[in-house]
């Protein structure tokens, strides 16, 4: 059971062969500590963020689908702002390229939701079923009360944790406090209920059952990450020159046998691996770079009084004796593009003016004569208030001296996220109109904030025969 190598042809390629269960051994060490810290940070953020409010009763992070607006701390984004979401995705992808080029699959080992939730599920499993040998013994033992309690208890805790995860997930889309109040009386909407259970099921299935198969079969990044690797990328590797030939030895009596390398072939690196590979076989795409094998091996090296680092973060060039080259053209290129994009997006967000004006000519008529004999053009205005507060707007016009702007109301009110529609009429007497088509600029400005303004050009049309 110790070796569950997915490369094993007979085992994995047969249609009917069952996947062998992997029982990763618990390890302690510097990288395990880092991973636990990252689990605490990422899951802490996930479960806590929707409960944080920004301002009066406004959930800081809320993707309010029913009202089609996204609250992101002080910002409110609307469907028109999808460009920012796209920019955020591009920045995330570039950051992933950069981290992969420098440090290999850092994302997989420490930050990927699959890793992070699996860590928690493994922890629950160890609490309920004990250590790796105990888990394996329990799996083989006949069903009795102890097995039912341990296995059943594990699943009950997994399900409860998954439901909490699903509830939190829906809390990013429906105000989480309202959701929490609806739970005791089971007063949830049918679709909220559906998505809580859907996401809970996905969590339970992925972190409880599928585990390393998600990385192997579902993850697109796992398939293409190798193109971002070069000979200077940090990878987790076994030092074959130092370790081979491998072999067991009697502790104390035969500490450094001349015919053997430093690998004592204890198999702990294989037992610790959550994807069930043997790192000593070289770099494999199943490796999620969690560094559990480094911790396991360093522990053994310490007990043997050998130097640590038989399995370590290294680069292909370093193994060849050419040293570490972290800073190289590819890294500089990714970093500068990334910084450029972050600055551009930040600048665009900071200077974003949350009002937009859309001016359309009344399609029925180009121009008409007003009651006082002036020439009149009619325009339809759409004022979109993208701010998180309601505003009153005044409409002004430039470009045709001597003309008059006639509006239905003095100020146009628009609630947060609302589009106000109104008609305006531009009137001018024959003597001020100099051309058949005059460019005018219509402008809206919030009464309480002069900076909240947008303008759009339009054309004032006069009869062609006036200028012949």
């Amino acid at each position: 059971m110790s070796s569950t190598d997915p490369n094993n042809k007979q085992e994995y390629d047969s249609l009917y062969a069952k996947r062998k269960e992997i029982y990763p051994r618990e390890v302690h060490g510097i990288f395990a500590t880092w991973r636990v810290a990252m689990v605490a940070l990422t899951l802490g953020l996930y479960y806590v963020l929707p409960w944080i409010n920004w301002g009066e009763g406004r959930q800081a992070l809320l993707f309010d689908l029913p009202n089609r607006k996204f609250n992101i701390f002080m910002l409110t984004l609307w469907p028109q702002d999808l460009i920012y979401l796209s920019a955020l995705l591009i920045i995330s992808a570039l950051a992933l390229f950069l981290f992969t080029t420098v440090g290999g699959r850092l994302w997989c080992g420490y930050a990927c939701p699959q890793t992070v939730w699996t860590e928690v599920f493994l922890w629950i499993e160890r609490k309920m079923e004990g250590s790796r040998p105990q888990q394996m013994k329990l799996a083989k033992s006949p069903w009795n009360l102890n097995k039912i309690i341990r296995k059943g208890g594990k699943h009950v805790i997994w399900v409860l944790f998954s439901l909490w995860t699903g509830f939190t997930f829906v809390g990013y889309f429906t105000p989480i406090r309202e959701l929490a109040q609806a739970i005791p009386t089971w007063d949830l909407g049918p679709w909220e209920t559906f998505w809580i259970f859907f996401y809970a099921f996905a969590t339970y299935g992925n972190a409880g059952w599928l585990r390393e198969q998600v990385c192997i079969y579902m993850c697109p990044y796992a398939r293409f990450q190798s193109v971002m690797f070069d000979d200077n990328t940090l990878i987790i590797s076994y030092d074959e020159k130092r370790g081979d030939p491998r072999g067991t030895r009697k502790r104390g009596i035969e500490n450094k046998p001349a015919d053997k390398g430093d690998c004592i072939d204890c198999d702990l690196c294989v037992q610790a691996c959550p994807t069930g590979i043997d790192i000593r076989d070289g770099l494999q795409y199943q490796c999620i770079a969690c560094a559990a094998c480094i911790d396991a091996c360093d522990d053994v090296m310490g007990k043997m009084d050998y130097d640590p680092g038989l399995i370590r973060y290294t680069t292909l060039n370093e193994i060849k004796g050419e040293g570490l080259h972290i800073f190289r053209p590819r890294v500089y290129l990714y970093t500068s593009i990334l910084i450029g994009l972050i600055l551009a997006m930040g600048w665009s967000l900071v200077t974003r003016i949350p009002v937009s004006l859309d001016v359309n000519r009344d399609r029925n008529i180009l121009y008409r004569e007003a009651t006082n004999g002036d020439l009149e053009n009619v325009f339809k205005l759409k004022i979109m208030n993208q701010d998180s507060k309601p505003h009153d707007f005044i409409i002004t016009m430039e470009g045709l001296p001597g003309s008059v702007l006639d509006t239905d109301q003095d100020v146009i009110s628009a609630a947060s996220g609302e589009t106000a529609n109104t008609l305006v009429r531009v009137r001018a007497s024959e003597d001020v109109i100099k051309d058949r088509s005059t460019s005018i600029t219509i402008k809206v400005t919030a009464t309480d904030n002069q900076k909240l303004t947008d303008e759009e050009d339009a054309r004032f049309i006069a009869p062609a025969d006036w200028f012949q």
Binding site: Y12, R19, R68, P190, W191, E192, M218
Partner: protein, 87 residues
């Protein structure tokens, strides 16, 4: 028989290859669809009769998923080696 098995893709990989890409693409299609149109524009009658946006979004997503899932299923079906049809 063993020769065929060596080429075989594990069953779990087949299931994932149908469920997962269809889930992702329908999610993207959903975002694009409701970026351009609001539920009020697409289904004014439903909105008027009191159906909530959440229900419309959810049903749209599930419908899109069913469509893309069918397409993935058909791809999977047609990818079966042809020589086996006569076995």
């Amino acid at each position: 028989m063993s020769d065929i098995n060596k080429e075989e893709i594990p069953k779990i990989q087949r299931i994932i290859a149908v469920l997962w890409p269809s889930f992702l693409t329908s999610g993207v299609a959903m975002i694009i669809l409701y970026w351009i149109f609001s539920p009020e524009e697409l289904f004014p009658e439903l909105i008027a009769s009191g159906v909530g946006n959440m229900a419309i979004y959810s049903v749209t997503f599930l419908f899109l998923w069913l469509t893309t899932l069918t397409s993935c299923l058909l791809s999977c079906y047609f990818l079966r080696p042809c020589n086996r049809c006569n076995d």
